[in-house]
Symmetry: C2
Subunit: 370 residues, 2 copies
């Protein structure tokens, strides 16, 4: 199933920081058919480094989407029944306006003149897209990690538009440790002289800094156990230690590969803006507390976390669940067993599929959507 | 108590990698008096970024040593009873020969021509120092983190010389995750153009790369909980978000400060060599298994780990304890409650003091040492 990325341009968007971006483009893909009543639409929300290509095969790269194991005929998000939409986030670098886009005032990339953006801004742009597609109400908003933050923001900021929300492997606000890991990544990018204050477009990318940032990220996405199972202390193509600084352990060459692979695929300035949006995010902002924010929500919730996820530990999902329960909201919570760490929501989808399928069927029935 | 660093030079040392260093200097400090029988000596072993200044006040910096809360009159390592010795490790940059030392063949710093070193090499040099001081047998060898690896190596490589060993917050071999964190630090250093293949002496230090590496390290030394307690999401000297890329959260400015503070204090090439020594370390090397290695040990063991230490988790200490028990060795194990993560062995020393004091008293009695 080849899926092409589509794009829509809006005249402008107002941002939480007070400024206005004009114009703004959104790249998106859809899977499955929107029914006549437009009542079977699902919005999936990508994580930090994802993009609009959530499912099917990309005609450019030949690669499946980031949630292809969850979206398709007969899968958790069954495209025989639902119409699934995914868009690249504001601030991104895969078709939606971001720091690498052309600033119409200068004719050159925004770079660090791009305004600071928030999770709320990302969701506001998604709302414009959804309304552009003629959809008044989404059957669900669902995503893992930063996608889960967007799902929470949707449920609180635009409650009338979401029948249900599935925040997965996520948090209502970053802890000091999560901010710290993001800050290390930003410092790694900005420490690279090729970053040049963000004005590297058309010159050398800050490739080394971005690769180091990505390496840190990859460690946090896996668990101690899954790294042990995947690599252990196995050596890379050698019988014994070479006693030098080449990559010797398999885990070293894996990290270097993943770091270098990220360069060219992801804009370093988007790395800065999007991690900052995650760090700023606090669902309680403007409401007093997480529970008071969630008081506004009318969606049914399915909250999922994973046992070995130490980047977004289960206690953060439980905080969301407790806040929802304290306001007598409809919430189901599952902590799924997995060895895969934070990556579990992307790779270990057996039980997750069952949970999502059952929850969606109930929501569709209650909403009389199909 | 002002303590001065002393130094001794040896003609040469043979290394595990096959080469020979000549000459080799060792910087060390001592606290308390060696008794006439030289039977009350204790060797403490520093962690990755430590040095010979374990206790008392440095005449240069005015700062206390890294284990000053554990070493002194009436403390865990009671200098009224014991003579405590601490030396800077081989490959270091605080007085002992390392990559920043002058290569006598060229008259310039070794830089990356310094030979790869191992934990076994570090211990071999410590043994030369101990013998130079006329000490035939140590009452204990004790250290946390990389210091614990050295304690294990001492007990296996030179069993006749150690009456007891205290590996604290450590492992008998790095996991894939531990190697991965070390590799990220090395890549951060080597990604800095100022690293210049290691030939930065007399020029600009690779300060930005080293700072990023240190920031990653600091995250791993603390626990999620201790970061939350220390910083939470508090903002740095602002009422609200500034919406920019200056340090806004307190945890950001803390990490930047610790990163920059490390530069100038620690040689970037030592960072590379010492982390590599930790990654190579596997107590089983040459023996078949950890248990077969520890079969050689005759020391009494006190193994300590901390509940919130996720960098050197308790299961790694338990592997050491299980291997010792399987060979019917004398071992006491404590998992101490602490919120401080890996840093606990340095900062949360109340219970640790009780454990060490009691264990040492028993060893001294059995050895008839005092």
């Amino acid at each position: 199933m080849i899926v092409k990325t589509q794009s829509v341009r809006f005249d402008s968007i107002s941002l939480d920081g007070g400024s206005t971006l004009k114009p703004v483009d959104v790249a998106y893909q859809t899977y499955g058919e929107l029914n006549a009543r437009k009542s079977n639409a699902i919005l999936v929300l990508h994580a930090f480094s994802g993009d609009a290509h959530a499912a099917g095969i990309s005609p450019e790269t030949g690669k499946p989407g980031w949630w292809d194991n969850m979206i398709g005929p007969g899968k958790a998000f069954d495209t025989n029944r639902y119409c699934v939409i995914c868009s690249n986030v504001l601030g991104g670098c895969r078709g939606t306006t971001g720091p690498s886009s052309t600033d119409p005032e200068t004719g050159r990339p925004y770079a660090m003149k791009f305004p600071i953006i928030t999770i709320g801004d990302m969701v506001r742009l998604q709302k414009m897209l959804v309304e552009h597609l003629g959809i008044a109400r989404l059957l669900t908003v669902s995503g893992g990690s930063m996608g889960g933050m967007q799902a929470l923001e949707w449920a609180v900021a635009h409650p009338e538009m979401v029948a249900s929300a599935m925040p997965i492997a996520t948090t209502a606000r970053h802890s000091a440790q999560q901010i710290a890991f993001d800050e290390v990544g930003r410092q790694a990018v900005m420490a690279d002289p090729d970053w040049a204050g963000g004005d590297y477009y058309g010159r050398s990318l800050p490739a080394r800094g971005l690769a180091v940032a990505r390496m840190v990220g990859h460690i946090t996405y896996m668990s101690d156990d899954s790294m042990r199972e995947k690599f252990g202390r196995r050596l890379q193509s050698r019988e014994q230690f070479g006693f030098d600084f080449e990559a010797e352990f398999e885990v070293e060459s894996y990290l270097r590969y993943r770091g270098s692979q990220f360069v060219g695929r992801f804009d370093p300035n988007s790395y800065l803006y999007i991690t900052k949006a995650m760090d700023y995010f606090d669902l309680a902002n403007g409401y007093g507390s997480m529970a008071e924010a969630l008081e506004r929500a009318t969606a049914r919730f399915l909250v999922i976390s994973f046992t070995s996820d130490w980047l977004y530990p289960s206690y953060q999902s439980q905080e969301i669940v407790n806040a929802l329960r304290s306001r007598n909201k409809d919430v189901a919570y599952c902590e799924l067993n997995s060895n895969y760490g934070h990556d579990a929501f992307l790779v270990d989808v057996g039980e997750q599929t069952e949970m999502v399928r059952g929850f969606l069927a109930r929501v569709a029935r209650v909403e009389n959507a199909l």
